[in-house]
Symmetry: C2
Subunit: 491 residues, 2 copies
């Protein structure tokens, strides 16, 4: 199958007009029930055909004894049946001309022996039948714009720009949950399982070519064909960022990876070189994968590694400066013009350095003036704003305390007014940051006084990302700067 034909079949997999769930079940908590429920429960608009020879109907839908018994065309078959039955079912898929299949079932190469033999057989059937086959031994796929979640547990993501390819089901599912709960916006998800037919690289090529995809995050344990991956990655990274977490970089991890998927993890140094040469952003942890991918999906890409920092209070700024230097980011000393611009609004005793300390000042317009001055200054590529947003949580604590006492001084109205003013001030700052990002084309990362890690705020301009700590913001910017510099260096 050439790339064009394959991509057309993957369109049918991720944007199917109809789905057959082979091995659908009405027994709660069985996989054949979980997958069907996830598909039905999450606004999928196409037709769904349960297949199970022992049932007439499941979850209120007519049930078919076999795939070939389905009276209408089927774009995607999801197989949730025991491994020994998979070959037969796939032959039926081929007979019916179904272009795409996801084999959830396990019990193949990862088990060795008979399982490995069956896997070879299904590869032949898929190839002969022209079936784009995902898996086996995968937790499934998702397509947020296609409103399809063929997964054991639904995640209900907002449709958006981030695509995920994962060689681990558990880890992939967890990343999906994070994306959904944090509202980052998902395009597609592919759990590639044993990669008997479709490989992570095929999915990268496919997702890289789709307009709705703004960035691709990959969790990988091992690649069958590094050269092929590099060729595809180089092509994709010219247009959109690819972020990869390669697991098994240690001896213990590499041993565990081999026993997990049976794939050879390969030398980590080789992967690192491959990533660097093809502009793939390498992260080392799941949080790094999520945070960096979210930022690259939603924010402008910095052109280099120079950062302007605004801080409320010294401590946070110092920590941010330390982390920047550790991660290869540079804090240029303020230019004379920048100092003059900042003098306009800051109290006369301000520190005149980068980080800019706004000390105790409480005016959102002042913050925005500082952020905008830094963002418009041509010697910085990105801005970090520390300790401004999230004070409404402090006000809430204060109100709770005041009410525990007696509330005599602060009336209910006054308390609500103070809280409302704080929330509005923070909204003004966040919207202003959205505007500044949009106008300057430079990312502004907010570090908020909250505990929730990454959070996304949609504004009337570009979305704004906040983190809980300076180290998270710096980690993201370091990865973004790598990509910005890679793009700048390409001819």
């Amino acid at each position: 199958m050439d790339r064009t034909e394959l991509n057309a079949k993957l369109d049918r997999m991720f944007y199917p007009a109809s789905v057959a769930v082979v091995g659908a079940s009405d027994v709660p908590v069985k996989w054949g029930n979980l997958i069907l429920t996830s598909i039905l429960g999450w606004e999928y608009k196409g037709k769904v055909f349960p297949v199970n020879p022992k049932k007439d109907s499941i979850l209120g839908l007519p049930c078919y004894p076999s795939i070939t018994a389905i009276p209408e065309p089927v774009d995607l078959a999801v197989l949730v049946i025991p491994a020994p039955q998979v070959s037969g079912a796939l032959r039926e898929c081929a007979a019916k001309g179904i272009p795409a299949a996801v084999v959830i079932s396990s019990g193949f190469r990862e088990m060795g022996g008979e399982g490995a033999r069956i896997e070879e057989e299904i590869v032949r059937i898929a190839q002969d039948g022209g079936i784009a086959l995902m898996g086996p031994n995968t937790m499934g796929i998702a397509s947020a714009h296609g409103r399809l979640e063929a997964l054991p547990t639904p995640t209900g993501p907002t449709p958006g720009g981030l695509s995920v390819i994962s060689q681990s089901g558990n880890l992939g599912l967890q990343v999906l949950k994070w994306i959904a709960h944090k509202g980052i916006g998902l395009a597609m998800y592919a759990g590639t399982g044993n990669e008997a037919v479709l490989h992570a690289s095929d999915l990268l090529a496919y997702m890289g070519g789709r307009d709705e995809v703004k960035a691709v995050a990959m969790y990988m344990e091992g690649l069958a064909d590094g050269r092929n991956f590099m060729d595809i990655a180089r092509e994709v990274t010219a247009r959109k960022p690819v972020i990869a977490l390669k697991a098994g970089r240690s001896q213990a991890g590499s041993r565990a990876a081999q026993s997990h998927t049976g794939s050879l993890a390969g030398s980590f140094a080789t992967y690192r070189a491959m990533f660097a040469q093809s502009g793939v952003i390498q992260v080392n942890t799941p949080t790094g994968l999520l945070n960096t991918s979210a930022a690259l999906t939603l924010l402008p890409i910095p052109r280099g590694n120079r950062v302007g920092v605004m801080t409320m209070g010294g401590g946070w700024g110092i920590i941010a400066a330390d982390e920047c230097e550790d991660r290869g980011l540079v804090l240029p000393p303020l230019s004379g013009q920048t100092v003059t611009d900042l003098d306009e609004r800051l109290p006369r005793y301000w520190n005149r350095g980068n980080p800019v300390d706004v000390v105790g000042e409480g005016d959102p317009e002042l913050y925005l003036h500082v952020i905008e001055t830094l963002a418009r200054w041509d010697e910085v590529d990105a801005v970090i704003a520390l300790g401004i947003v999230g004070r409404s949580r402090y006000v809430e604590d204060f109100i709770a305390c005041q009410e525990r006492f007696d509330g005599k001084l602060y009336s209910k109205e006054l308390k609500l007014a103070v809280l409302k003013a704080q929330i509005q001030a923070e909204d003004r700052v966040m919207t202003g940051i959205g505007r500044i990002q949009q106008e300057t084309g430079k990312p502004v990362l907010v570090v908020a006084l909250t505990e929730e890690g990454l959070s996304v705020r949609r504004t009337s301009y570009s979305p704004v990302i906040s983190l809980s700590t300076p180290e998270e913001a710096v980690d993201i910017l370091a990865h973004m700067a790598f990509y910005g510099e890679y793009l700048a260096g390409r001819t």
Copy 2:
């Protein structure tokens, strides 16, 4: 003042029978109002005397025109008045024999000129009057067992074992908020401000000697007397862990630190050597400070760096193994006896390696068997358990999805029963881990499928800490192992 006398005065500061708030105000959002409200709002049991010559009463309390006008003894004076008035107020404190004062006001050495001169003056007054003086230019102190928060915003912590010393007000306050919101349990907090009289080292000596303190977390920008700190730290770390975040380790950070407090940050290498020699655990980020301090306050201390990992699914285990190796932790291969013990409960195809993959098994007793086998094995010092707890969130998502669909198959009763069973299973696991920790004296860190970062679960045995990601758990264990090995190496 010798150490015994000083500590007696610090007892009066942190466990005062009465507090005067000098500069108390009834104008909302003024500092003199915020501090008074925080003290009154948070169950402080002693007497509170507002001092303000312009008022007869504030927040329903009689108000005094001066400190000397207060008709009863005062243990602690909190000063929230303009810098030029502080000398006079302190002289009154001395005249009245008040043993302890916290000077919140700013406008001293950090402003230079006249401010620096006043600071010299208040040092003399405090020394002559025998006043233990915190600050100036501090956001205040807190004492959770003493039910006192002399802070601009209350945090309402659970009384517990962690003490915090901070040379930054904003950062210290944020750490306090985290401690309160996450229920870690606080003993005391000291924001040391300009350290005109009391230094961070004095507080370390004091807190190190109090039984209710289980661990001390320090944020520092610069020390006036490194030798003195080392002597004190060596003494304290023999009995309890001290965790330090030294900011200003980069050039940019060090410049910012100097402009922030005026203290010389000093070479980071010197600090690193100092910490290593005195058994102080060095962390680089606020999250590292919080997470490591929480674990060392609540969990047993490992004797070394050997880790047993249990994982649900391969991916998480590989990441954990990679992170362990990066951070100097060792995953010993399973011994023959351990394999035999695990064979008892695990399915026959289990991976027989460390990490132990429990694959798709869903039985809490099996998880506990694996965790207990690892914890009791004499070749590991600590255990990480990945991907078990937090699945109730998955079940909640599943139920929401099923209800969006039609709820036909799963009755309300069945759904609630499934959720309840999951929550009970997780409770069983967490309680079992508490027991295993207590019986084996080894920490077991849980990585849960949630987004909230560190969270503390109180069980009927020892408390259990869970994190969101393997990298957080490994970071904590690496720091704990450093301390365990330091203790083992002391004569």
